[in-house]
Symmetry: C2
DNA sequence: ATCTTATTTAATAAGGTTATTAAACCGGCT
DNA sequence: AGCCGGTTTAATAACCTTATTAAATAAGAT
């Protein structure tokens, strides 16, 4: 009665993903992962050699998933509708991966080496730089035109990211502390998205 | 040459605090703590019995520190100056304890049992309920008066908390990824505070 | 049927973790 | 000096962690 005849390598990756997202790197052992899959612990090492390598693969994947969504900022002349689209897309993404942003932040904040590795891998990455650069150019021009108030591009980014990310990061706290049902959480998220959009829109008015 | 003739019990607490804040519960061992103090590992247990008890003491302390600052919301007729004061106070607090909000969030998000314990300890706490209730009444009245746009009190709270907390949570990422000096980080925080204030002020306009 | 190669397992090395224990230490009191 | 209580230590139990190894198993090719 094997767990499934599907690829064990893949199952291990998925279990690792779920557990790392839920309990973090330090809170998850390779034994936990093997147990979740229902296989021998040595298999985790057979396929991924070390816990760190397994983690890295997942980590880089998740960061890319998050960063790629920034491309959804397809500016077509209207700042607010571009921002609205990004908010929409991130809400959709995080709706099905609520722990994602916390996971990435968590590991970056808790581990200096990972920050260094992240700098080498992403900040010094030409494509990523370009995306940020073109975003900041758009913001600068909008400010010049007077369609939005004067604001540092980085701050605008941080404002939106803060609001969206914290919504999902605090979601388990919201749900458990205030004992909300899944249905209530759904409604809450819908309302929250609207609030963020209004807040940003008003907050950017000249 | 004793580490200091000061209270070892206190030194242990302080080292534990520093390490838990920096690396989280799972990432810190009692051996690490003893090592940081320069004492025997058994001493940590002699004074605090278990790692969990030691952690809880620190954790409850930090939550209280954070929640008590909400009292700085001394409303005297002007919403924005009250919010401005809260932002100011939190920036001052977090300036010297930048990892504090992340620490609390981290442990609450990563550990379901802690969320349950937190609900019993705080949400069912009369004093805390009153503070939130009076805040939400003020918001409701301001909305009625038309001095601010319609907004759920919880959302307003979450908006401000998100912006402030994320500023400090992402600080190590900002500093390390963009290789900023301490001086630059200072300026950044000063600018960021202003931005948050403007953003919230504009974001609340009717 | 046997060989081959990839997969999976049990066993284990090497080390780390929390928590307890019994013994040593040390300063003050009688 | 001897005793006492709180403090500190070394030693250790019991267990968990990562990673490796050698042997067992499975499955396809010849």
């Amino acid at each position: 009665m094997k767990p499934q005849t599907t690829d064990l390598e893949q199952s291990i990756l998925e279990a690792a993903e779920r557990l790392f997202l839920e309990k973090g790197f330090a809170g998850t052992s390779t034994t936990d992962i093997a147990h979740a899959v229902g296989c021998n612990q040595a298999l985790v090492h057979y396929y991924y050699r070390t816990k760190e390598r397994l983690f890295r693969g997942i980590f880089i994947n998740k960061i890319n998933l998050l960063l790629d969504y920034l491309d959804k900022f397809e500016y077509n002349g209207c700042m607010m509708s571009a921002i609205g689209r990004v908010i929409d897309f991130y809400f959709a993404l995080l709706r099905s991966n609520p722990r994602l942003p916390f996971f990435v932040m968590n590991e970056l904040v808790l581990n200096k080496e990972r920050r260094e590795w992240m700098r080498e891998t992403f900040v010094e990455n030409e494509k990523r730089r370009r995306v940020y650069y073109s975003f900041s150019e758009i913001v600068r021009k909008e400010v010049e035109k007077g369609t939005i108030r004067p604001i540092e591009p980085l701050f605008l980014l941080l404002d939106v990211v803060s609001l969206v990310v914290m919504t999902f990061t605090t979601l388990p706290i919201y749900a458990d502390l205030l004992e909300k049902s899944e249905q209530e959480v759904d409604t809450y998220l819908e309302e929250r998205k609207k609030e963020i959009f209004i807040f940003v829109m008003k907050g950017l008015q000249p």
